[in-house]
Subunit: 328 residues, 2 copies
């Protein structure tokens, strides 16, 4: 029997989950739920119904796991605790500072309903968190580093688009090669924000816009750009569409640690991702954790979990026997 | 209260565990057990007793977790099921083909005693297995590759030392750079044994030994060398001791997978290790899993586990709240 997946929210992430479910033959997409008019939404799958979010409780028994594909700013803080009352739920909540509060809300709802809610699933938080935790547990005497990129930051791109005279923009976050290299070589430098990443911006300006003023506004924008070495390129909309329409991302988690009675040995653990599509990869992680939620639920577990609480075997379509025979 | 660790077997791995325990301030080394005469064994720690393995059952209540540091060929198949009757146990059993049988034996003993036994802990099997399993679960439509090295293979070094006229030897396993590069670039080639690794041997020959004959014997040795491009260097014992006395190792686990409705996107997940000391790193992994065994045991779990069955949070000295606040 397939695991019946529901998707709530059909943007890039929701569409990514739709694609991921198709690749997992122990799953089926049961329904997509939307705040839009369901009749207006065209999805990739044939023969999968689209329903209004207002009717979602009618489908409680038709969905094994509901994957929440909304945003962390306003959608997930409400939706995840709300729907954990009725479904096993998975979200990609990524506001690091607010994870403890979100966890508490989801935990309360999920414990009351007997459901599983797995939050902050994706690659950071998510796979990068796992890498940091494993490496820290193994090499307690060490330093770890996370570099992001080369990849598109949606938040920074949006910030540029809000500047007067800007029609469109794409911002890439890029690790500083010399810092990345030093860390990879086992060094443990103290790195400032500026020494870790640079920012490269491709901007489409309105005709007659004041380009030097836009460039200055970008480079001096607090939090987003002021602490970084930033490069700004003005290009045409055609060029942006042609060369910068993808949503690639990735990064590196590296820990260097010492062992030995006199700390005489150095070890480097590195985990890296190179992703053609940030939302599709995040969707793949969400989908694997949907399988885990389903299995943990069947074993009678409930409450809120993060990737740190989920034993890896739960993620796999293979049985534990198969995993031990072929994957260990 | 500290987790009281016992070490059984005091070779390179046992000494590595001794060093690792010192780095974890929630643990203490309670005792070392040996098959040798305990009075003859000098360990690094002061004020830690060394006992004969024959007396180990006298210390059942003084040890929380027993870390078994023997070999996979003859020690662990007997020791792990035997001592799982009395202790939470951790081993680094690495004969991949025999893991299912070993698991069954340890599971039976540990379920009967109510103890936890975590087997096949280290980096391969161990952290590399975890990387393969996570990556496979996330990108089901993909191919994965494991490259080992550059590092010393103890088994291959021993095989060379058994050849007539050889006094000492050290063998390095080395990934083929062009293959590693292709896989890192997202390609999914079919690679033969020869295309994945080369073998480099440093050999000290007896005076007057027939060097060309030794070289041929090495290169044609079935299983060990015949399927590889092998280089042999004859050097002096002094040079071997000076430049090849370390036990470095490492390697790469890489998975390339496709996502998207038409499989239009490619993703690369890479996990790599660069280790100054193979046994000390393995010991660090064993020690982290000793913490997990202790905690899982306190929660009432029992039976045999592998790294695939252990939720990452159990490995960490931090509380779950701290992990969510700082590591997620």
């Amino acid at each position: 029997m397939s695991i019946r997946i529901g998707i709530l929210g059909y943007g890039n992430l929701g569409r990514g989950v739709e694609c991921a479910v198709k690749q997992n033959d122990d799953m089926e997409l049961a329904a997509v739920f939307t705040r839009r008019n369901p009749a207006s939404l065209k999805i990739l799958s044939e023969n999968v119904p689209v329903y209004s979010i207002n009717d979602i409780l009618n489908y409680k028994d038709a969905i094994d796991v509901l994957i929440l594909c909304g945003g962390s700013a306003t959608d997930l803080p409400k939706q995840t605790p709300e729907y954990a009352k009725y479904f096993h739920v998975i979200d990609s909540f990524d506001t690091h500072a607010k994870i403890p509060a979100h966890f508490a809300n989801v935990d309360q709802a999920a414990k009351a309903s007997g459901k599983i809610g797995i939050i902050s699933v994706g690659w950071d938080p998510g796979m990068f968190s796992l890498s940091r935790v494993y490496a820290d547990a193994i090499l307690p005497d060490g330093s770890d580093y996370t570099f992001w990129g080369r990849g598109v930051s949606q938040g920074h791109s949006d910030a540029i688009r809000r500047i007067e005279g800007v029609l469109d923009a794409r911002q890439y976050t890029i690790p500083v090669p010399s810092s990345l290299e030093a860390v990879r070589n086992g060094e443990t430098p103290e790195l400032s924000t500026r020494e870790k990443h640079t920012r490269e911006c491709f901007v489409v300006a309105a005709e007659g816009a004041d380009l030097p003023k836009i460039e200055t506004e970008i480079k001096e924008m607090p939090n987003y750009f002021a602490d970084y070495d930033t490069t700004v390129h003005f290009i045409s909309q055609e060029e942006l569409d042609k060369n910068h329409s993808g949503i690639p991302h990735g990064g590196f988690v590296i820990r260097n640690g010492k062992t030995g009675w006199e700390k005489e040995h150095t070890h480097t653990i590195e985990y890296s991702l190179r992703l053609d599509s940030n939302p599709e990869f995040t969707a793949c992680v969400l989908t694997a954790y949907a399988r885990a939620a389903y299995r943990m639920g069947r074993e009678g577990m409930c409450g809120c979990k993060t990737v740190l609480d989920v034993a890896p075997a739960y993620l796999c379509r293979q049985s534990n026997d198969q995993l031990r025979q072929h994957m260990l």
